[in-house]
């Protein structure tokens, strides 16, 4: 196969934002994740937990609560606004100033007709969910003290509100408070501090379960307003509760990073009467668990340590299957690194700025395993801070290194770069065609003469670039009728083809010479995570969230022979068990039979000329091959050449000089930048 010179880059200071809210849509099997920087991510749990959509944040906006109403997603935050998101254009559809001060919580009734919000000033407001908008309906009785948490009774007739030192039960019809449940403060020094009821859950049998800042999970009877049971689960706060759809299990997230499960079971075998019993404790977080979702089969948790953890409940799923594996989603499922292959430049995308780095250089030669002496260190050429309050949603660097483009939800900006060693200049291109709007993906053509931007209604805007001007050439559309955003763009090396993919799992191929749709690849059941076109333009390869690899011939408009063989033989089980999606796939321009692809924990070169591995063969066989003499290697070698030397990968690219760029982000570096966790007593300390 051969040796590669690898630029091992660890200076991308990518720092994910803390998770503040989670919302679970059972019908679509999607989880919305709200982060501290105001961004919202949509994960499709039915499609290998793939991160389908990212709605960028905005300065000053925090997502304190998320709520699905059918397919519609609402959020509220301490900026006092209720926002509905446009999931097709990946932007807030509208924001409604609710005039009640900061919003702590929102909740939707099970009929999905009313949205209730709890405010800092003690009011609970009801909003009617109408087509295309929400409309204020009325206020419930105003209380003293903020409303921190809300929960609708499944019937929609009552509502429980967690406040300071108490829980109120409201009648949703009259708007009057019917019960006042006093919550005991913590013992000792915290006696003088108000206890905050961080979370309430109203069950259909009239039981209210609350979690509070004194570390208690309490079970109440809403008919009599009495306390049934108290579980002291932590010395710190119980921050969040979530109930399973069948209401047989409740989970509580604490500041210690634990998730504690309670189940409604009879405590002894004969006893008929059931009660809430603490059953399991999961510790998958190092910091506060701020958000929880109890799906039918799993516990989904997120918090200050920025990781989304999916912990399947082993009594609900089949054991020792892929479904029962714990998943930690740390890195985004899209590329934040663009690489100018010809110029040896890297572009790092942060929410509020972009960095352009020139890679270092070495003239040394070495054997495999060596570290070469550096002739030139990598240097940061440009740091470009974004304008406005909206966070950057996508960015691109042209292969020649002469153009830089980025987009926020409000605007696209294009810059001309000059990066000589002693002369660095960056000039904004002032006049951009007005078609460049609502862009969620940007890409330059291989000869840097065109800019492709995915726009609304799954369309792609093509802009021609020249020194003098940049003008709108064409808007490419397809006729499938899908309105979902295009998340992948891939032009071909020869400039003839452009492949697009949207979150409706469609892959379209456009002929750029004729500026029209060439063909569409048959829709596969899983969302594409990476696409690439053969340098000769003869075929395209598409990798999906379920780890399938499909190659489609553009000439015959059918799957290629290799692809069919792969489907027939099936992929290796270990390949299918990987839990991070392939985020980049490229044909090696020197040897188009080689496909280079990577996920967060490995990169792989697939040699299409070699036999495919069977289920029983060793997939990760590089160690074995290394130990074998040259002539025996061919006997054991197979198409998948997987390198796991590099971990926590944010990007892998093949440069023009055939060297590799590997961008790593060690978890330790992220961990050190997190705030200190609450102190927990450890055994023997």
């Amino acid at each position: 196969m051969g040796e590669f010179k690898v630029h091992r880059v660890r200076f991308f200071d990518y720092m994910p934002s803390a998770i503040r809210a989670l919302a679970w849509c059972r019908h679509t099997q999607r989880v919305a994740v709200g982060r501290a920087d105001g961004s919202v991510e949509i994960f499709n749990f039915s499609d290998n937990y793939f991160q389908e959509k990212v709605i960028p944040g905005r300065d000053g906006r925090t997502v304190e609560a998320l709520c699905w109403a059918g397919p519609r997603l609402f959020s509220a935050g301490l900026d006092g606004e209720i926002t509905e998101y446009d999931l097709e254009n990946l932007r807030p559809r509208y924001s409604l100033e609710a005039y009640g001060g900061p919003v702590w919580t929102i909740s939707c009734n099970s009929q999905e007709t009313l949205l209730s919000a709890g405010f800092e000033d003690g009011t609970v407001k009801l909003f009617e969910i109408l087509e295309g908008k929400v409309q204020f309906q009325r206020n419930l009785d105003r209380q003293k003290g903020r409303i921190v948490s809300l929960s609708w009774h499944p019937s929609g007739s009552q509502m429980a509100a967690g406040m300071m030192d108490m829980i109120r039960v409201f009648d949703a019809q009259t708007g009057h408070a019917t019960h006042r449940l006093l919550v005991e403060r913590g013992a000792g020094a915290s006696k003088s501090q108000e206890v905050v009821v961080w979370s309430v859950v109203f069950l259909s049998n009239g039981t209210i379960i609350s979690g509070d800042s004194a570390g208690k999970v309490q079970v109440w009877d809403s008919f009599t307003g009495t306390l049934l049971r108290t579980h002291l689960v932590t010395k710190w706060d119980v921050l969040v509760l979530s109930v399973s759809p069948d209401e047989s299990s409740v989970i509580a997230g604490t500041s210690e990073g634990t998730v504690i499960q309670f189940q409604f079971v009879s405590s002894t075998v004969e006893q008929q009467e059931q009660q809430w019993v603490r059953t399991r404790t999961f510790k998958n977080h190092s910091h506060d668990v701020r958000a929880l979702v109890h799906t039918d089969t799993a516990v989904v948790s997120g918090g200050v340590d920025t990781q989304l953890v999916v912990r399947p409940l082993l009594d609900k799923v089949e054991k020792n299957t892929q479904e029962s594996a714990l998943r930690k989603i740390i890195f985004p499922h899209r590329n934040l690194v663009s690489c100018a292959k010809k110029a040896g430049l890297l572009l790092f995308q942060f929410p509020d700025h972009l960095e352009v780095w020139r890679l270092g250089d070495s003239d040394g030669k070495g054997k495999a395993g060596d570290s070469l002496p550096l002739k030139r260190k990598p240097e940061k050429m440009i740091q470009l801070n974004r304008k406005g309050q909206d966070h950057i949603c996508c960015s691109a660097l042209s292969p020649c290194g002469g153009w830089l483009a980025y987009s926020t939800v409000s605007a696209v900006r294009l810059y001309r770069l000059q990066l000589n060693t002693n002369n660095i200049s960056i000039n904004k291109v002032s006049k951009l065609p007005k078609e460049l709007q609502s862009v969620h993906q940007l890409c330059f053509s291989c000869d840097s003469s065109k800019l492709f931007a995915s726009s609304s209604l799954s369309s792609v805007v093509v802009v021609g670039l020249s020194q003098l001007e940049c003008k709108h050439l064409e808007t490419l559309k397809h006729k499938s009728g899908s309105r979902q955003p295009v998340h992948l763009l891939c032009p071909s090396e020869d400039g003839k083809w452009l492949v697009t993919s949207n979150t409706d799992r469609e892959v379209h191929v456009f002929n750029l010479h004729k500026m029209k749709l060439h063909c569409s690849v048959p829709v596969y059941g899983s969302c594409p995570t990476a696409v690439s076109v053969h340098p000769s333009g003869s075929s395209l390869v598409c990798v999906h969230a379920d780890q399938q690899i499909l190659e489609f011939s553009l000439k015959q408009k059918e799957y290629t022979e290799w692809s069919r063989t792969l489907q027939r033989l099936g992929l290796h089980p270990l390949w299918l068990q990987r839990d991070t999606p392939i985020t980049t796939v490229t044909y090696d321009p020197r040897n188009p039979a080689h496909l280079a692809l990577h996920d967060a924990f490995m990169f792989c070169i697939i040699d299409q000329t070699l036999p495919l591995p069977e289920a029983k063969t060793n997939l990760y066989n590089q160690q074995v091959l290394r130990s074998l003499p040259q002539d025996q290697r061919s006997r054991v070698s197979h198409a998948f050449k997987i390198c796991k030397n590099f971990q926590n990968l944010l990007g892998v690219d093949l440069l023009e000089d055939h060297s590799l760029v590997v961008v790593e982000r060690p978890l330790q570096d992220i961990l050190t930048r997190l705030p200190a966790p609450v102190r927990c007593k450890k055994f023997a300390t």
Partner: protein, 725 residues
């Protein structure tokens, strides 16, 4: 290792007109080491509490007047004394607010300085060298003051020292490039003048420092070429005759500081203790040419012990009061606490197990490995110096008996007189000179004692042994004589101080000590330290037994204790009922103290083993029981081996157990009483083997830990080569 602690600022310095002057005239200790009086070079005197970094009081003379010497504090009367405009002596108390209203007296000649050492009377030194007690001066302020110094001679430095009996004033003067030291004794007054040896032409000492110890004044002086000399002046020397040529003051080069190319201009060196000197203003040997360092040097090993860079200009002023250094630099006066623990090369190398307090008092003259390791360097200049000065000293010494006369006397005179004369001879300080004759004296004493059974003077012999100038090879009959005369105290001293006792004699001592009945031993008068060590051991053991309320440690309880094998303890039946026998010391305190001395002597196994075979089996068992007791005390109770005690170490105890078992194993196996003992000893060995086995296991895993830590650290960026197959 001496250390300089983090310093702190006591006060800022008033910007001086002259860049070379720090603006501080002097710092003097007040009532205790935490209070100092700082006199600035113009008008004010400030009292500081050092630990609080806070001024407690300040006094100023009028505009136009200047303070011409550092203010001092008279601890007896609690008054402050200062001199303004050279002639006006001012005395005031702490609660006096305005200096001008305080007591003033004008004297007839210019005053150089007023000194008031702790415990002494204030003395006034005039610029022309005359000296007056302050009290007598104030009784007649206008009294005429004579000139002591030659017309062109000028005082450069002065200090006052209070000894046990006398008050001394030292000052140095310069006359045409020559430097003189004057030693003025008060009550009765006498003045002695020494000439300092010349350094390279044109160099005059930068700074003097004096300390007093063992009736000698130690004078330290620093030359601009970095040489630090030490001179030792006996306090007792007689006054020189009038008009005699000033004797040269012998000196020894203590330190040669690295100075680089240029000479030192403003630097200062002061004595901290026997082995340490603080130097400010000399360059750090490894930090380039900058001179702004405060260093502590060990003079024994010529090593730099601690250094600190001082910000700003160094003025070459340095004071030290009880573990604090005061150094003005830049615009501040800093206080730097320091520590000078006693150090030796041997302790640095881990060779010296116990720091012996006597070490510092007397130089060890018997050659030993320790001496060869680090003492020689020190000895050579000293002996050369003594040879040079011997003739001078001879002339100075009092008309007491010479060594030869004492030797003659020993041969004939009665014991009491011999004892007195030997004591007289030993009380003279120059033991270095006496060393060869001490051996002769000891040999003569011993041979006479051997010849005349009635003659024996134990005190003199003990005194001679205590000088540490003797060793066994010098006087081989001394220890056997002591054994014969049953002078066990002397035996103990010999065992303690002689480094070269033959194994045969050691063994003879051991045999005698073990055979000694406890009743007799209790009457002995031994070294209190060794006895108190044993008492501590036994008392902790009893205290513990009491504390544990009859509970005994499990290791002993597990063992079937064979109480019948223990025979020797008397009158302890009650205790024995509560404690297993090995928890009780099988021999008396005094006897144990003597045996401990034997345990600590040097020996080699091959030579000792044949002699050990001569011990009777009863003695061997008893000795083993005692060693077992010591072992248990050390290991089970984790007895803290106090370094102040002279005590055998655990290793020494184990070595002796092994030696005894080697020498007598067959006998012991055959002896029924020894059965239990041997079983227990085997148990110890087993437990030790087990312990080391476990430690070995841990070592393996710890080593693994080290290996795993060796993972290379990948930086922010690297270019690597990988190969795919």
């Amino acid at each position: 290792m001496a250390t300089l602690c983090e310093g702190y600022t006591l006060c800022g310095l008033t910007p001086a007109q002259n860049r070379l002057c720090s603006g501080i005239r002097g710092i003097v200790e007040e009532r205790d080491s935490d209070h100092v009086i700082v006199t600035d070079s113009t008008r004010s005197v400030t009292l500081f509490k050092v630990s609080d970094q806070k001024p407690l009081g300040s006094w100023m003379v009028k505009q136009g007047q200047t303070l011409t010497c550092s203010a001092v504090y008279n601890t007896k009367t609690k008054e402050y004394i200062a001199v303004s405009d050279n002639k006006v002596i001012r005395i005031w108390k702490e609660d006096d607010v305005v200096l001008d209203k305080a007591f003033k007296a004008t004297v007839s000649a210019d005053v150089w300085v007023v000194h008031s050492a702790h415990g002494g009377d204030p003395v006034v030194l005039f610029q022309r060298g005359a000296l007056r007690l302050l009290d007598s001066l104030l009784s007649a302020p206008q009294q005429p003051v004579e000139d002591v110094l030659a017309p062109d001679e000028a005082i450069r430095w002065s200090t006052s020292i209070v000894t046990e009996t006398q008050q001394l004033l030292l000052f140095t003067s310069e006359l045409k490039g020559e430097h003189f030291l004057y030693l003025h004794r008060l009550n009765p007054n006498s003045l002695q003048r020494y000439r300092l040896e010349r350094e390279e032409p044109g160099l005059s000492p930068l700074r003097f420092s004096a300390s007093y110890k063992n009736k000698h004044v130690c004078l330290l002086y620093l030359y601009p070429n970095g040489h630090v000399y030490r001179s030792s002046i006996s306090v007792r020397g007689p006054a020189a005759e009038e008009g005699a040529e000033a004797p040269r003051l012998p000196r020894s080069l203590l330190l040669a500081l690295p100075v680089g190319e240029e000479l030192l201009e403003v630097a200062s060196a002061i004595i901290l203790d026997d082995a340490h000197v603080a130097v400010v203003g000399a360059p750090h040997p490894s930090a380039g040419p900058g001179k702004d360092f405060l260093c502590i040097w060990n003079t024994n090993f010529q090593t730099l012990q601690a250094a600190k860079e001082m910000a700003g200009k160094i003025y070459g002023q340095l004071w030290s009061f009880s573990n604090k250094l005061f150094a003005p630099h830049g615009n501040t006066l800093s206080v730097i606490p320091f520590e000078c623990p006693k150090s030796s090369l041997a302790s640095a190398l881990g060779k010296l197990k116990q720091a012996k307090t006597e070490d510092s008092k007397l130089p060890v003259l018997v050659p030993s490995w320790n001496n060869i390791l680090h003492g020689d360097k020190l000895q050579h200049p000293k002996t050369m110096e003594t040879r040079k000065t011997r003739t001078q000293r001879r002339t100075q010494s009092t008309p007491s008996l010479t060594t030869d006369q004492v030797l003659e006397l020993i041969k004939t005179a009665p014991a009491e007189e011999v004892q007195r004369e030997v004591e007289e001879l030993l009380s003279r300080q120059d033991l270095q000179d006496l060393q060869p004759s001490l051996g002769q004296i000891a040999v003569t004493l011993v041979s006479r004692s051997l010849a005349e059974p009635t003659f024996y003077c134990p005190d003199s012999l003990a005194q001679l042994v205590r000088t540490r100038c003797l060793c066994h090879s010098v006087c081989p009959d001394l220890l056997p004589l002591a054994l014969e005369k049953k002078d066990y105290f002397l035996c103990q001293l010999c065992l303690q101080f002689f480094p070269d006792i033959p194994e045969a004699v050691t063994c003879a001592c051991l045999k005698t000590f073990i055979g000694l009945p406890d009743v007799d031993a209790e009457k002995l008068n031994l070294e209190p330290e060794s006895v108190s060590f044993m008492e501590t051991i036994i008392s902790t053991q009893q205290g513990q037994a009491g504390l544990q309320n009859g509970f005994s440690p499990t290791t002993c309880a597990n063992e079937p204790s064979d109480a019948s094998s223990v025979q020797q303890t008397k009158g302890r039946t009650e205790e024995r009922a509560r404690n297993p026998p090995e928890q009780i010391c099988p021999i008396g305190v005094h006897k144990a103290a003597l045996i401990n001395e034997v345990l600590q002597t040097a020996y080699s196994d091959n030579f000792l083993l044949p002699h050990l075979k001569g011990l009777s089996s009863q003695h061997v068992i008893l000795f083993l029981q005692y060693l077992q007791f010591l072992y248990l005390q050390y290991s089970q109770n984790a007895f803290p081996q106090k370094h102040s005690f002279r005590s055998p170490s655990l290793d020494q105890v184990m070595d002796w157990v092994c030696l005894l078992l080697d020498a007598h194993f067959t006998v012991l196996v055959m002896t029924p009483e020894a059965k239990g003992l041997l079983l227990k000893l085997q148990h110890f060995v087993k437990s030790q083997v087990k312990l080391f086995y476990e430690l070995g296991k841990i070592e393996g895993s710890l080593q693994e830990l080290k290996k795993t830590k060796l993972k290379e650290d990948v930086g922010q960026y690297s270019i690597e080569v990988i190969e795919l197959f």
